[in-house]
């Protein structure tokens, strides 16, 4: 086993980011190995297609490599930062292909809804993921659907209103209640929202 490679495995994400600023490609490889599954999973959830998800994940990780200096530890963890890059790039791409996805999502929105237990059948790998899953499971399905259409599919609140034939005020209200319920989930357990 390469000793040099092993050294990187014990470094914290924030340390690896510092090494990226010195153009250390092995530090980048370690970060990739730690976070590529979560990043690819988010990319796939947003794009709904493996090739598009690969392109998005590649785009996002190269932004991590080229823009490590823009990471700010006080704004959240490295993992959250990487996922926010995937999300932002994904939203840009979805909106540039909005018309193509609209029909597909209309069909999905009107289809019978899967039960939360099916939607979250996967067992999550770590406790943070487990907690998030529990928090989302507390949401009424109609609130979760609106959060998902906004966050993963890149729809604006006005577009969601049109898509689901709901008043705009109802969409905003469900967004607010959904986010509040997630926050309350953590606060009720005396835990901070993971960042």
């Amino acid at each position: 086993m390469a000793d040099r490679g092993k050294q990187y495995l014990i470094l914290a994400d924030e340390d690896l980011i510092s090494l990226l600023e010195a153009s250390d490609s092995e530090a980048f490889a370690t970060l990739y190995d730690r976070h590529s599954r979560a990043a690819f999973s988010l990319a796939y959830r947003m794009m709904g297609d493996r090739q598009a998800a690969e392109d998005l994940a590649q785009d996002a990780f190269l932004k991590v490599w080229r823009g490590a200096g823009s990471y700010r530890a006080e704004r959240g963890s490295v993992r959250t930062w990487i996922l926010s890059i995937v999300h932002n790039r994904g939203i840009d791409q979805l909106r540039s292909h909005a018309s193509r996805r609209r029909t597909q999502d209309k069909i999905e929105a009107s289809a019978p809804r899967s039960q939360p237990s099916e939607a979250f059948a996967e067992t999550w790998r770590n406790s943070q993921r487990e907690q998030v899953r529990e928090a989302l499971n507390t949401l009424p399905r109609e609130q979760l659907k609106i959060l998902e259409l906004a966050y993963f599919s890149g729809y604006t609140h006005a577009e969601i209103s049109e898509l689901l034939s709901l008043p705009l005020g109802t969409v905003k209200g469900r967004m607010r209640l959904g986010l509040k319920k997630i926050r309350d989930f953590f606060e009720s357990r005396g835990a901070a929202v993971p960042r």
Partner: protein
């Protein structure tokens, strides 16, 4: 377009953190936020809640080829970037040297150019400081690694069917209380399955962590305290792990 005010800010902030505002609304919201920085913390906090959605998708394994493609780009960019960083001071000194000749030839502009030269000198000092700071940071990290290695009290090699297929795995005790499994070149496992670590005390296996073999190197913490005489084993289990091993170990070692 309604004018942005506190009431409208309240009305739109949830959609903002979900990135669900139209461009014009978003711009107007951000202008208001810039003018009212005291509300930034509230938006950061709400944004963290929205950001949790990123952790919720069903796990998908990225194709190994994706890693190769990205690393090829990174490798191609890394060398020139290091050269640029290494040569930044040399380049500036060379630049200043050439300017020095120009100064000699243009004595009438001496005072003005001297002032400019002093300004550049400050910039060079700043750059030197930045480079030294960056080097210092890297040296600190390297020192941490050396320290961790020095404190590494025990390393035990694992063996089994996977090592005969070319995998290399060991259990390392770092800083006394951090036990990790570190492995290279583990084979891929089918979708819907996971690797589970067991610490076997006597005949009783205790679940001690899950991991997915990914990339060329894998590291996973072992969550159960271990002592001499225990056995560490790894089995392939259904996603989420099992209460008891359901397959034969692919890696194991007696401590």
């Amino acid at each position: 377009m309604n004018e942005m005010n506190n009431e409208r800010f309240e009305d739109l902030k949830d959609a903002y953190v979900l990135d669900a505002l139209a461009e014009e609304e978003k711009r107007s919201f951000e202008e208001f936020l810039a003018a009212h920085p005291e509300r930034q913390a509230e938006i950061d906090e709400l944004g963290a809640v929205a950001g949790l959605l990123a952790f919720s998708p069903e796990m998908q394994e990225p194709p190994p080829d994706l890693r190769n493609r990205i690393m090829n780009v990174v490798a191609a960019e890394a060398a020139p970037r290091r050269e640029r960083q290494g040569s930044v001071l040399g380049g500036l000194w060379g630049y200043l040297g050439a300017r020095g000749l120009a100064l000699g030839a243009a004595a009438l502009l001496l005072i003005g150019l001297l002032s400019w030269n002093l300004l550049l000198q400050d910039q060079v000092d700043d750059l030197q400081g930045q480079v030294q700071s960056s080097q210092g940071q890297v040296e600190d990290l390297q020192a941490q690694v050396r320290e961790a290695q020095a404190q590494q009290t025990q390393t035990v090699q694992l063996s089994g069917t996977w090592t005969t297929q070319g995998a290399d795995a060991e259990v390392a005790s770092i800083s006394g209380d951090r036990i990790i499994l570190v492995a290279d070149d583990l084979p891929a496992i089918p979708e819907g399955q996971t690797c589970q670590i067991w610490v076997i005390k006597g005949d009783v296996p205790e679940p001690s962590g899950l991991f997915q073999p990914g990339g060329t190197e894998t590291a996973a913490p072992i969550t159960t305290p271990i002592k001499k005489g225990d056995t560490i084993a790894v089995t392939v289990e259904p996603a989420g792990g099992s209460e008891q091993p359901t397959t034969d170990p692919v890696l194991s070692a007696e401590l």
